[in-house]
């Protein structure tokens, strides 16, 4: 573990006390730096959600097996063709309350019905929240329970322009029954969560010199017998300054090793037209958080089920959901939907690329070697609202599946795929979600 040694050496050379050293070594963001846990391969899992179904004819490869052609929508991933899997024939079979979109997103990672409730969409019965935990949170809990795989956050839930509305259509992830997890869709807010503490320390250290001057000025404004309180305060501030500066020196050293606190572009408001920029900022933050080993599970939710982004940057003025209801015969809508889904795929490709070009800290290879991205959707196809053939495209080598193939499963319940994820992470389950759909066990043929 070269990093650990050099860190201790550096601190020792810089003349820090043992106590100060311990303090720094225990900073949560530092603990993470280093090789994958002893005895196990580093594994990360990312779910990317995009809404409203796809255009199957331009999405699914026609062939199956390891020689297949990427259709238009998947073209952005061509660079990763040998590291991807398309899983056709995986179906969300969950019935019960809620409209197709609600069950589409609410049962996608949970594999279980929604509670009865009062939120009504379309012509189906109304529903509430999911009755169970989602697979990302389940795996996070397993990883967090093991000291070898425990990280500062366990999981991170990213969003891009998710409406400020807590309802079944805007929640993908569940910590348990009736416990939806809200994604953070503001990159600045995510930044605060990830780096707030370090950033604030840096900020504080940078203003300390000014404060020292101010304390001295203030002292002169008091009677001699009152000055002691400010002197005491100043002495403490100086003490603090020393400690903080050392910490920051150390952080700088760390940043030269590739663990820099990222810099976000300033003043990017949460607006439809900023979606491309927000998506990149969020993905960059995710990559950084993996480098720092803040979490090994992430969800990345682009808008929401029934999402209405207007992709004006592609020359499309209509909202996505509205377009997704148009019949296939509506040529211009059809073409726009292909473009929209291609744009989503570009996001997946961007993340894959960032992961592929970022070295795994403390180990050989890249982040993508130890990360699997699962790109999915609440519907198979927008205008039919079918939850058969849910889009599942996997990129990267985190789960140890045999990649570079297009697979055909016929019509299997998606619960079995959720079980495969658990199994691949080393935590096989007899069932996940509704057990009625789990009898045949996890999917075969993935590894």
């Amino acid at each position: 573990m070269p990093n650990q040694t050099s860190r201790r050496d550096f601190l020792a050379k810089a003349g820090f006390s043992a106590a100060a050293m311990n303090l720094m070594m225990n900073l949560p963001s530092l603990r993470a730096v280093g090789a994958p846990a002893a005895g196990g391969k580093m594994q990360r899992l990312v779910f990317i959600f995009s809404p409203n179904g796809v255009i199957p004819a331009h999405f699914w490869p026609e062939q199956s097996g390891d020689s297949f052609e990427l259709k238009r929508i998947l073209q952005p991933l061509r660079e990763f063709k040998s590291r991807m899997l398309t899983l056709h024939g995986v179906c969300n079979r969950i019935k019960g309350d809620g409209d197709g979109h609600m069950r589409g997103i609410g049962c996608l990672l949970t594999g279980i019905e929604l509670f009865p409730g009062d939120v009504q969409g379309g012509s189906d019965t109304p529903a509430g929240w999911s009755k169970g935990i989602s697979v990302d949170q389940h795996i996070k809990n397993k990883l967090q329970a093991n000291p070898q795989t425990q990280t500062r956050f366990g999981s991170l839930e990213f969003g891009v322009m998710v409406p400020e509305r807590a309802d079944t259509w805007t929640r993908l992830s569940y910590a348990g029954p009736n416990q939806p997890v809200a994604p953070i869709d503001n990159p600045y807010q995510m930044f605060d969560k990830l780096y707030g503490q370090s950033k604030n320390k840096e900020l504080f250290a940078s203003v300390l010199d000014d404060l020292v001057v101010e304390f001295k000025r203030a002292e002169k404004m008091l009677a001699v017998e009152d000055q002691h309180i400010l002197q005491e305060h100043l002495a403490m501030v100086r003490d603090l300054e020393k400690g903080l500066k050392a910490e920051i020196e150390f952080a700088k050293m760390r940043s030269s090793a590739g663990h820099a606190i990222p810099k976000l572009p300033p003043n990017v408001d949460e607006q439809n037209d900023n979606i491309p920029q927000i998506s990149r900022m969020q993905m960059d933050l995710m990559v950084n958080s993996f480098v720092a080993d803040f979490a090994r599970v992430a969800t990345f939710q682009i808008t929401n089920s029934v999402g209405q982004p207007k992709m004006r940057w592609l020359g499309i003025d209509e909202g996505h959901h509205e377009l997704s209801h148009e019949p296939d015969s509506h040529e211009s809508a059809y073409e726009k939907l292909i473009k929209i889904n291609t744009w989503y795929c570009e996001q997946v490709a961007y993340l894959a690329k960032r992961l592929a070009e970022t070295p795994e800290p403390g180990g050989g290879g890249s982040l993508l070697d130890n990360t699997t991205i699962v790109w999915t959707n609440e519907l198979g196809k927008g205008n039919s609202h079918t939850r058969d053939n849910i889009p599942f495209v996997l990129v990267g080598n985190g789960l140890g599946f045999k990649m570079g193939r297009a697979l055909e499963f016929g019509k299997v319940p998606h619960n079995r795929l959720l079980m495969s994820f658990c199994e691949a992470l080393g935590y096989p389950e007899k069932s996940f979600g509704n057990p009625d759909f789990c009898a045949d066990g996890s999917l075969t043929g993935l590894s």
């Binding site: 109304p126 604030n200 305060h233």
Partner: protein, 775 residues
């Protein structure tokens, strides 16, 4: 004149040393009260001899006499050593004239009164000490720094929430069926229609108004709802609980929030029953809370206010508790934990400023240059935080420099806020000596009355126009500020500390003896006391004596059932809490209030000792030493024939107990007509109650009374009670010793209190005005 054994002398010395080692804060010889009768007699004897034989050379207070013995009489010799010196050498012209007991008496006297180190500390002229903001002052200051950018809160006496009822599951003007004031939120509509004209199957109710907590601290807000609801709290659109989606199995929602007393948190609760194909749950909703030191209750009517209220910020960061060794909070501890907590506070405030203050400011301000707007916003923020206008160098440091080092607006705000909050100019309110007099007066008034900084536009305008210079101007401003909710909250806090009731969480009684003394009853008693106190203080007369002489109380149906006809409401109908009829037999203000009385009692029996200590320490402001050792009260079962009075007399009969208990018991016994839950009684164990009691005042007058009515009349007009109250109020509001302003501050304020017919409001105004007069 015989000689005294060495052993005795030594014991005097030890005793006196022990007393002096205690932290003593009184400024005069009233401290001698702490001594036993024997010791004070010794002191008095010593003083007499000293004045006769010593003071011509050493000065009346040991300060020295320039022509004879100029050095002051101070040092670290013990009493025994001093005695020896006196015996052998003093007075110089006749060393044989002060021996034995006389020498010991003089030694004890000078040692205690001016010679010893602890006497010097004790006699030091009290001065106004510079302190940092206390935790509460920091919270309040940040709340006002935030509030500065909104409207001023108007005081209202309209309680409850504004309910608006719509037919159908959404807000639609034409479907509005009813506007009404709901006293509290606790509804079970079941499957029926909530109000006429609204169908049971689908409705939309909005409740709006404000919540005013009485106590500062961590609350749990509890909503129980079977249907969809969204609760905005602190600011409309600041969601505290979002249950937009009603989902089976989820009906209880709790959120922990730190709230400040005297702030009105705007609130909006939207409750929706939606029509659906599946079965509907019955519609129920309640809005409750668990206050600090309290138990869960529906948010009471008196804490709900009708009206539009500006947004409120309450710091959620934890702050370490402050030093209370002087009996009031002082910001004197400077340590890392405190420092880190102020950093956390600065960061939290920076975030809220960036998210909530800046956007509205940006809209308000005209002009196009975003950065110029931001500069002016930060300038206003820092000016308010520092309680003084910024000169060029300050503006450069606190605004320009911070702004220039951050391109992102949000980050720039966080940075500037952090520097400002960590600055001594914010943390030490006393650093305003270079400001104008009006500015300093406004700063003192806000600190005294609100524990905060000047933030209201009217006050800032007075500063700008330099109109806080004359006594008349200052008093007018103080009078206006006293009416504010913030000052009212601080007053309430003071009164609860005065009654020693701030920390009382629950009161329980033996359920076999007092079956109806339920938690609900205690809750109603607490509210009844709250309402009583509010009424006494904030009614027009604001007459302090009413605390003891009011012949009425606030009652409910339950209280009437439990406490009898004296607790029957004056009016037959009306709100849940109504006043009782005037009944001098049943009510002597606080002294007959069952909340206080049941708190000052055991599970089954009264406790004359608790009641006596309450009176002597809190009401009369006298000092009591703790007992030499801890005693367990005698069990009533061991003495089945004795009344409580007899049992207490028996247990405290030894001489060493009687020094204090003769004072304590004789006050507590006067309340024996009120049982362990505060109900009137004439007999205990078939013996008539003996409620005779007495008290010796500070001036030495012996007062006798029988029963709580005579006791109440005495307390209401007692000089000791008045001075204790003035002193406590002063310490609570100003957080500096009264004598630091003027030796006679307490006497002057106390006299004015009498002249103003005991008006509590006027007293607080007087205290605030006094606090502006520091030199």
């Amino acid at each position: 004149m015989g000689t005294i054994g060495k052993g005795h002398l030594l014991s005097v010395a030890l005793l006196i040393n022990a007393i002096c080692a205690e932290r003593i804060f009184c400024q005069d010889k009233a401290q001698i009260e702490l001594l036993s009768a024997e010791q004070s007699a010794l002191m008095e004897h010593g003083e007499k001899i000293y004045l006769q034989k010593c003071s011509m050379c050493h000065g009346a207070k040991g300060e020295g006499v320039s022509s004879r013995h100029p050095e002051p009489l101070v040092g670290d010799a013990t009493v025994a050593e001093l005695t020896k010196i006196i015996e052998e050498t003093m007075p110089e012209d006749d060393p044989q004239s002060c021996l034995g007991k006389d020498a010991a008496a003089v030694a004890a006297f000078i040692h205690y009164v001016f010679y010893s180190e602890s006497a010097i500390v004790r006699n030091r002229t009290p001065r106004i000490a510079v302190a940092r903001l206390t935790a509460n002052q920091l919270r309040q200051s940040l709340a006002d720094l935030y509030g500065h950018f909104g409207d001023t809160v108007e005081v209202t006496d309209q309680h409850g929430l504004q309910g608006t009822y719509f037919d159908g599951a959404r807000w639609k003007r034409e479907n509005k069926k009813l506007d009404r004031i709901d006293p509290t939120i606790d509804f079970d509509f079941a499957k029926a229609s909530p109000v006429d004209g609204v169908q049971a199957k689908a409705f939309y109710i909005s409740w709006e108004g404000g919540v005013k907590p009485d106590v500062t601290g961590r609350y749990e807000i509890v909503v129980r709802s079977t249907c969809s609801f969204v609760l905005d709290f602190g600011k409309i659109d600041r969601e505290l609980i979002n249950n937009h989606v009603q989902s089976e199995g989820q009906t209880e929602f709790r959120r922990s929030v730190y709230l400040l007393a005297g702030r009105v948190y705007p609130l909006k609760l939207i409750f929706v029953q939606r029509e659906r194909k599946t079965e509907q749950p019955p519609a129920r909703i309640s809005l409750g809370w668990v206050p600090p030191h309290g138990t869960e209750q529906i948010i009471p009517n008196q804490n709900l206010l009708i009206g539009d209220f500006p947004p409120v910020f309450a710091l959620q960061a934890e702050l370490p508790p402050d030093d209370r060794s002087y009996g009031y909070e002082r910001g004197v501890a400077i340590d890392r934990i405190w420092d880190e907590s102020t950093t956390a506070a600065g960061i939290e405030f920076g975030q809220i400023a960036a998210v909530e203050l800046w956007p509205s400011s940006r809209r308000r301000d005209s002009g196009d240059d975003q950065r110029a707007k931001l500069r002016s916003f930060l300038n206003e923020l820092v000016t308010t935080a520092f309680r003084q206008p910024l000169d060029d160098s300050l503006r450069k440091l606190y605004v320009d420099q911070q702004l220039n080092s951050e391109p992102d607006d949000g980050e720039a705000i966080k940075r500037a806020v952090l520097v400002a909050i960590k600055s001594p100019r914010f943390l030490y309110p006393a650093l305003d000596r270079e400001s104008s007099q009006s500015q300093r007066v406004a700063n003192r008034l806000a600190l005294t009355l609100y524990d905060s900084l000047p933030s209201d536009q009217w006050l800032i305008d007075l500063v700008r126009k330099n109109e806080l210079e004359t006594d008349l101007q200052i008093r007018a401003a103080a009078e206006r500020m006293v009416e504010d909710y913030r000052a009212r909250a601080k007053t309430r806090e003071m009164l609860y500390e005065w009654m020693n009731l701030s920390q009382v969480a629950e009161i329980t009684k033996n359920s076999a003896s007092f079956p109806d003394f339920s938690p609900e009853l205690v809750d109603e008693l607490r509210q009844s006391l709250d309402l009583f106190i509010e009424e006494v203080v904030w009614s027009k007369r604001s007459d302090f004596r009413q605390f003891f002489q009011a012949d009425w109380s606030y009652t409910t149906q339950r209280l009437e059932q439990s406490y009898g006809p004296g607790w029957r409401p004056r009016e037959n109908s009306g709100p849940k809490f109504r006043k009782t009829a005037h009944d001098r037999q049943a009510h002597c203000g606080l002294l007959t209030h069952p909340f206080l009385l049941s708190h000052l009692a055991y599970n089954d029996t009264t406790s004359p000792i608790h009641r006596g200590v309450f009176l002597i320490r809190y009401m009369l402001g006298r000092t009591l030493r703790p007992p030499a050792e801890a005693f367990t009260p005698l069990s009533p079962n061991l003495h089945p024939d004795l009344t409580t009075r007899e049992r207490v007399e028996l247990q405290t009969s030894p001489n060493e107990c009687q020094t204090c208990h003769s004072k304590i018991n004789s006050l507590g016994f006067a309340m024996e007509n009120l049982d362990a839950v505060g109900r009137f009684r004439t007999h205990e164990k078939e013996k008539a109650i003996n409620s005779a009691g007495r008290y010796t005042t500070r001036k030495g007058d012996e007062i006798k009374f029988s029963g709580v009515h005579e006791l109440a009349d005495f307390i209401a007009n007692s000089e000791d009670v008045r001075q204790a109250f003035v002193n406590r109020a002063f310490l609570h509001f100003v957080k500096q010793p009264p004598a630091a302003f003027r030796r006679s501050t307490v006497h002057v304020l106390s006299d004015r209190f009498v002249r103003n017919r005991y008006s509590i409001r006027d007293l607080i105004t007087d205290i605030a005005v006094t606090a502006t007069k520091e030199n």
